[in-house]
C-alpha cells in the first residue's frame, strides 16, 4: 500500500464525501455542463456508425481474449519490445514501480521529468514519490497542468479538470505562471500553457508516460491524445519511461482498427482524436535513445481469477460510463475518493485494493444500466457491482459485528418475512398498527426511526393503507370469465 496515495485521497466513504460535494454548486454545475457536452457529442458520432454494435462485440471479444491469455501475450510483448530495442521491467506493486522509475531517472541524473497524463502514475502516487526524492515532475496535459498547479486532484480520467471553469483556471495560471494580465478566453489559457511548456519540452531529458495499448505481436505502444503534448514527450527527450498496467495488451497491430474507432468516439465525442502515436522500441534518429516499459500488476492479476469480475480489466478508460452516470452527474469525481471515479471506478477501485478499501463504492449506483449500454467493450458494470456487493456482504457476515449488526439482522428478518405469505401478511397487520407512532398529522411518514431514517431524509413515505392489496384481493368475488383462485399457498 502506498503512503503517497493515502496522502492524496482520504479514506472517507462515498456517502460522506458525496454529501460535502453536493453542497458545492459551482463544481456541480461545471460537471453537469461538461458531461452534457461530451455526451451529446458522443451520441452524435456513435449514432452515425451503422456498425457500432459490431465494433462493441469485436472490442469486447478482443479484450476478453487478451485477458484470458494474458501471460502468453505479455511474454510475447516483452520479447518483441526487447527485440525492437526497448527495455521491459516488471513491477508487482506501487512501491516496486516507483523504485524502478526513480532508479531510471536517477541513473540519468535528471532533476526534472516531463509527463503525459497517466492515471496509472496517479494510481502509484508517482509524483509524490518523485518530489520526495528531489525530482520535479512537470505535467504537460493541459488539464493535468491545471490540477498540478492548482494543487488539486483529478475528477475524471479523460478530462481531469472538468470540475474547473475558465475563471478558476485563469486564477490558477495567473498565480502560478505569474501572468497578471492573462485573459479568460480558453484560447488565452491554452496559449499560456503552450508558452509555459514549450521551453520545458526542449530542455528536459526524461519523460514519463502511460499507454493506451501494448501490441504483443510487434512490441508496439500506442498513445492517444489531443494536444500534442504527448508527441512532444514521446519524441523530444532522450529517455522515455512508459508505465503500463499489465491488462493493456492487445494481440495484434490490426486490433487497433477497432479501438481507434470506439475509443475517441466514446471518450471525447470525436471521430478521431487529434493525435495517435504508435512506435516500437527505439529508432535511430527519431525519438528517444532509451525506451523503458514498466509493466505494473498492483493487484490486477488476482482479479483475473474471479470469472464474474474479470471483465473489469477489459476497460479502455474512455470514461463514457462516467459521463452517462446519474450518480457521477450529481457528485462529480472527487466523491469517489479514488483515482478511478464513476461506474468503472466503483468496480475497479475496491478490487485493486483486494476489497479492503472503497467498500462503499459498489453501492454508489442506482443500477440503471446506462454504463453498460455505452461501454465500448461491453463491461456489464451493474452485474459486477451486484457481484461485489454480494462479496462485501458475505465478508461482513463472517465478522461478529457484521453478523449481529443491525443491517444483517434486519435483512435476515426481511428475508424470513418475505419467504412466507402468512408471515408477510402478519407483518403488514403489525405494521398498520405500529406505524401509528410515526405517521404525522398530514397523513404521511416524514421521519422513519433509526437505520431507516436515511430513506426519509429527502422524501416522505406513504403509510401502509388500512386495507392491504392482499386483503382486497382475498375478498374480491371471482368473476365469471377470470377464474380467480382465492386460496393462497405458502411458498415455503
Amino acid at each position: 500500500m502506498t503512503t503517497q496515495e493515502q496522502a492524496h485521497w482520504s479514506d472517507r466513504d462515498f456517502p460522506e464525501a458525496a454529501k460535502e460535494l453536493l453542497q458545492d454548486s459551482q463544481i456541480r454545475s461545471n460537471v453537469r455542463h461538461a458531461t452534457n457536452v461530451i455526451q451529446a457529442k458522443r451520441n452524435n458520432v456513435v449514432g452515425e456508425l451503422s456498425d457500432w454494435q459490431q465494433l462493441r462485440d469485436a472490442g469486447a471479444a478482443i479484450r476478453a481474449h487478451s485477458l484470458a491469455h494474458l501471460h502468453f501475450y505479455l511474454a510475447q510483448f516483452e520479447e518483441a519490445c526487447t527485440r525492437a530495442g526497448g527495455q521491459v521491467h516488471w513491477a508487482r506493486d506501487s512501491a516496486e514501480a516507483n523504485r524502478i522509475i526513480l532508479g531510471l531517472i536517477q541513473k540519468h541524473d535528471a532533476k526534472e521529468v516531463i509527463k503525459i497524463k497517466t492515471m496509472t502514475s496517479e494510481e502509484i502516487g508517482l509524483n509524490q514519490n518523485l518530489e520526495a526524492n528531489g525530482i520535479h515532475p512537470i505535467e504537460t496535459d493541459l488539464a493535468e497542468l491545471i490540477i498540478q498547479l492548482g494543487h488539486d486532484k483529478p475528477s475524471h480520467f479523460v478530462v481531469p479538470a472538468l470540475h474547473k471553469n475558465r475563471q478558476e483556471v485563469r486564477e490558477i495560471f495567473k498565480r502560478e505562471m505569474n501572468l497578471p494580465d492573462l485573459g479568460e478566453r480558453p484560447e488565452d489559457l491554452a496559449s499560456a500553457a503552450r508558452t509555459y511548456l514549450r521551453e520545458k519540452y526542449l530542455r528536459v531529458k526524461v519523460a514519463v508516460s502511460g499507454a493506451n495499448f501494448l501490441i504483443a505481436e510487434n512490441g508496439a505502444v500506442c498513445i492517444v491524445e489531443s494536444e500534442g503534448n504527448g508527441r512532444m514527450c514521446l519524441t523530444l527527450p532522450d529517455v522515455l519511461i512508459s508505465l503500463v498496467g499489465i491488462e493493456k495488451v492487445l494481440p495484434k497491430y490490426r486490433d487497433m482498427e477497432v479501438f481507434l474507432q470506439t475509443l475517441p468516439r466514446s471518450a471525447t465525442g470525436e471521430r478521431m482524436n487529434p493525435y495517435n502515436s504508435i512506435w516500437t522500441g527505439v529508432h535511430e534518429g527519431d525519438g528517444p535513445k532509451e525506451f523503458h516499459v514498466v509493466l505494473l500488476d498492483n493487484r490486477r492479476s488476482p482479479i483475473l481469477g474471479d470469472a464474474e469480475s474479470r471483465q473489469t480489466l477489459q476497460c479502455i478508460r474512455c470514461a463514457a460510463c462516467l459521463n452517462v452516470c446519474p450518480v457521477y452527474h450529481q457528485t462529480g469525481g472527487h466523491a469517489y475518493e479514488s483515482v478511478y471515479a464513476g461506474p468503472i471506478g466503483a468496480i475497479l477501485t475496491p478490487q485493486l485494493h483486494s476489497m479492503t478499501e472503497g467498500r462503499s463504492l459498489p453501492y454508489a449506483s442506482s443500477l440503471c444500466g446506462a454504463c453498460y449500454e455505452v461501454c465500448p467493450v461491453k463491461i456489464n458494470i451493474p452485474e459486477v457491482l451486484i457481484h461485489l456487493r454480494g462479496k462485501i456482504v458475505e465478508e461482513d457476515q463472517k465478522t461478529f459485528s457484521g453478523k449481529f449488526g443491525m443491517w444483517n439482522m434486519g435483512m435476515q428478518a426481511a428475508a424470513f418475512l418475505f419467504a412466507s405469505s402468512s408471515r408477510l401478511s402478519l407483518a403488514q397487520h403489525l405494521g398498520q398498527i405500529g406505524q401509528k407512532l410515526v405517521v404525522s398529522q398530514n397523513g404521511v411518514i416524514e421521519r422513519l426511526p433509526s437505520m431507516l431514517s436515511g430513506w426519509t431524509q429527502t422524501r416522505d413515505l406513504m403509510p401502509l393503507p388500512d386495507q392491504t392489496f392482499r386483503d382486497w384481493w382475498a375478498q374480491r368475488k371471482p368473476s365469471a370469465d377470470h377464474g380467480i383462485v382465492k386460496e393462497e399457498s405458502d411458498v415455503e
Binding site: S50, L74, A75, A161, E227, M272, N273, Y275, S277
Partner: protein, 217 residues
C-alpha cells in the same frame, strides 16, 4: 536485475494461477481467429464521394483544404505558403524536387536540432495513407515524411495527400500499415486541439496550430 526477473516470474505465475487453465499457442491462435469481426472493413464510396468526404472532415477540424492536379503541386504550395506568409519551411528527406517552388527557403529537417526547428515557419510533408471517414492523415518515418518531431515542433503544417492514398475506413488504413508497423507512426486529425477547458475545442496547444492539406486529384 535479479529483482526484476523475480517480479516477472511472480506476476506471470500469479496470472497463470488466477486463470487456472492454459492453452498452447495454436489453441490461442485458433481462439483469436474466431473473434467476431462483423464490423465494416471495406469502404463503399466512389472516388469523388470519397474525396468530398475527406475534404469535408478536414474542414470540420478547421484545416484548410485545396485540390490540384499533379502538375500543379508546386504552384499550389507556393500559393498557399504565400497566403499564409510562411517562408522558412522545414522538409523531410526524400520529398520530390518537383514539389518545391523556387524562391522559398526550404531546409531538410534532419540537419537541425529541436531549437532550430522551433524557429522555422512551418513544415511541408507527404503522407503514408489518409482516412476519409475520420479526416485523419497517417505519417510514418519514411521518405517525404521524416522523423516525428519534424511535423510536430513547427507551428504550421502543409501536407500533400494523393487521391490514391485516401481510404474510407479505419480498418482499410490498418490493412496498409500492417506491413510497415515497425516504423514510428503518427495519426493526426486536424491541428492540435484541446477541450480541457469547459469542453470548448481550442485549436493548437502544442502541435502545429495551423494545418493545410493539398489534395492531389
Amino acid at each position: 536485475m535479479s529483482n526484476s526477473s523475480d517480479a516477472r516470474t511472480a506476476i506471470l505465475n500469479s496470472i497463470r494461477s488466477a486463470l487456472g487453465r492454459s492453452m498452447d499457442a495454436s489453441g490461442i491462435a485458433a481462439e483469436y481467429d474466431a473473434i467476431p469481426r462483423a464490423y465494416k472493413r471495406e469502404g463503399t464510396l466512389g472516388r469523388d464521394a470519397l474525396m468530398d468526404l475527406f475534404a469535408h472532415r478536414l474542414a470540420e477540424y478547421d484545416a484548410g483544404v485545396t485540390r490540384c492536379s499533379v502538375e500543379k503541386i508546386s504552384e499550389e504550395i507556393a500559393r498557399i505558403l504565400e497566403a499564409r506568409g510562411r517562408r522558412k519551411i522545414a522538409i523531410p528527406g526524400g520529398l520530390p524536387d518537383g514539389w518545391l517552388p523556387k524562391g522559398l527557403d526550404f531546409e531538410v529537417g534532419t540537419h537541425f536540432d529541436d531549437y532550430q526547428l522551433d524557429r522555422m515557419d512551418g513544415v511541408l510533408t507527404g503522407c503514408t495513407v489518409a482516412i476519409a471517414a475520420t479526416g485523419s492523415i497517417v505519417l510514418q518515418n519514411a521518405a517525404a515524411q521524416g522523423p516525428r518531431i519534424l511535423s510536430l515542433v513547427p507551428d504550421y503544417h502543409l501536407c500533400v495527400v494523393f487521391a490514391e492514398q485516401v481510404v474510407e475506413t479505419v480498418p482499410e488504413s490498418f490493412a496498409q500499415l500492417d506491413g510497415m508497423s515497425a516504423l514510428p507512426t503518427t495519426f493526426f486529425s486536424g491541428p492540435s486541439a484541446t477541450a480541457d477547458i469547459e469542453m470548448t475545442r481550442i485549436k493548437g496547444v502544442h502541435g502545429p496550430r495551423f494545418l493545410d492539406v493539398v489534395l492531389v486529384v
